[in-house]
Amino acid sequence: MEGVPVITILYFAWLRDRLGRSSESMPLPEGAWYVGDVIRTLAERDGDYRLVFGPQGGAIRCAVNQEFAGPDDGVREGDEVAFFPPVTGG
């Protein structure tokens, strides 16, 4: 995999429980790449990914490099992209 640009994806709370993992690497295709592209790529996978990231999934929030981000925010090599439910702290 050396030389292939990747991003790190993190999952929290029920997303992590459902997907059975807390993080993974994803190779980044050439060209401009956005949070929305990452979500579409994950939704095209089988099984739980489609349930979580597809149109039937619950409310999901995203952060890129620990800043809240939306579908139109860019993603670059080495970025940390986190997906999680709306927060419930306090």
Binding site: L10, F12, A13, W14, D17, A59, A63, Q66, F68, A82, F84, P85, P86, V87, T88, G89, G90
Partner: protein, 155 residues
């Protein structure tokens, strides 16, 4: 201005945090505070709090700095626990130090409203019968945070 942010599993002492916050702040008139606890009912036994290490501390630090700027605070302490907490146990402590009471109490409400909507914590409920369930975000919390954007009180 002293900002202290801590995400921890350990319990905390209001007295110790109050003393630490006020150290040397002779122009302070009072401390506004909120202590959130695990609310019981409906067979709840405990909550488990999870967070996003790194982002949590950074978001809480920003909320504290924003409160300091809006309300002219002399200091702000925000402690949020994570891990498993039984009914009645403290989850969060906010202390806002100011020259006058209105600023101290308004800042405390401001911090809590933003914590509920901007800090990446998630709660999983654990019931007496062993069932567990992730807590859904409350729309009321978004509304409470949004009022600070249109509120004439500050900024």
């Amino acid at each position: 201005m002293t900002i202290r942010v801590s995400v921890q599993t350990a319990a905390f002492s209001m007295d110790a945090e109050r003393a630490r916050l006020m150290q040397g702040a002779h122009e302070a008139g009072g401390v506004g505070a909120f202590l959130g606890v695990v609310r019981g009912g409906a067979g709840l036994r405990a909550l488990t709090l999870e967070h996003y290490p790194g982002m949590t501390e950074s978001m809480i630090g920003r909320i504290a700095a924003e409160a300091q700027a809006r309300f002219g605070l002399l200091g702000c302490t925000i402690i949020h626990r994570v891990g498993r907490l039984g009914v009645g146990e403290p989850i969060v402590l906010v202390l806002c130090l100011a020259a006058h009471r209105a600023a101290a109490l308004d800042a405390t409400a401001f911090v809590m409203d933003w914590l509920k909507t901007r800090a990446p914590f998630w709660k999983r409920e654990e019931f007496e019968d062993g069932r567990t369930a992730w807590v859904d975000a409350r729309e009321a919390d978004d509304a409470a945070a949004a009022r600070w954007a249109r509120d004439g009180r500050a900024g």
